[in-house]
């Protein structure tokens, strides 16, 4: 599964349905489901933490990275034009297009609270939806 940045905010800032986000995180560890995040998510999350003056949150995030609870997924040279195509085709910002593209390319479920993905042909769930799926 691929985590959108808003799921990280939910986990670390206790936002939205954070209990489900934590439950999903624990589930993934328990059942060895790999949680992928992309490099831009790290930049975006770090900027969000600074914006909210929550630098300590970055230390916590780092601990989970070190424990390999998250795995990084990156882009190659040929991916960028495809991301731009997603931006145009679905009228998404770069961040969203990137997540949609990576989820589609690697056939992963995208975990997000963002309703913008409803108009995109990519498998996506909120944490609660994913957990209910069984």
């Amino acid at each position: 599964m691929l985590f959108d940045t808003n799921i990280l905010y939910s986990i670390f800032f206790k936002q939205n349905d954070f209990k489900s986000s934590w439950e999903l995180l624990s589930y993934a560890v328990d059942f060895k489901e790999t949680i992928y995040i992309n490099q831009f998510t790290i930049y975006s999350f770090a900027m969000g933490c600074c914006k909210k003056k929550q630098e300590k949150t970055l230390d916590r995030f780092n601990e989970l990275l070190k424990e390999q609870i998250f795995d990084l997924i990156s882009l190659n040279n040929f991916d960028i034009p495809e991301v731009f195509k997603f931006m145009k085709e679905y009228d998404l910002d770069f961040d969203d297009a990137l997540h949609a593209f990576l989820a589609k390319k690697h056939r992963m479920s995208l975990i997000t609270f963002d309703k913008d993905f409803d108009r995109v042909n990519v498998e996506h769930y909120t944490p609660r939806e994913w957990l209910k799926r069984g």
Partner: protein, 99 residues
Amino acid sequence: MPQILIENKRPKVRRVLFSLQPVTVERFYNAVPERERSKTVNQIIDEYLNEENREKAEKIKILKKIWNEVDVEIGNEFENEDPVRLQKEVWEDVMKKYF
């Protein structure tokens, strides 16, 4: 592939089996002295599973620690904020700053 491994009904062991290539299992099996084979293979699988469980337990311990920190330090400070909105705001800030 060694029969003893195939016959093992424990779900976790079956998962270990299928995660290994047949050639690897064969090589691994043949490297064990014949008279000890069945016992040793099972022991090694158990050790593998114990190691896996130890890693998992460690990760769960870290998760609990982080959750406690988040729960105490963050409290309800951001509970009414939307994480999707925050995500979009960050990108808007970047766009304003650099473009």
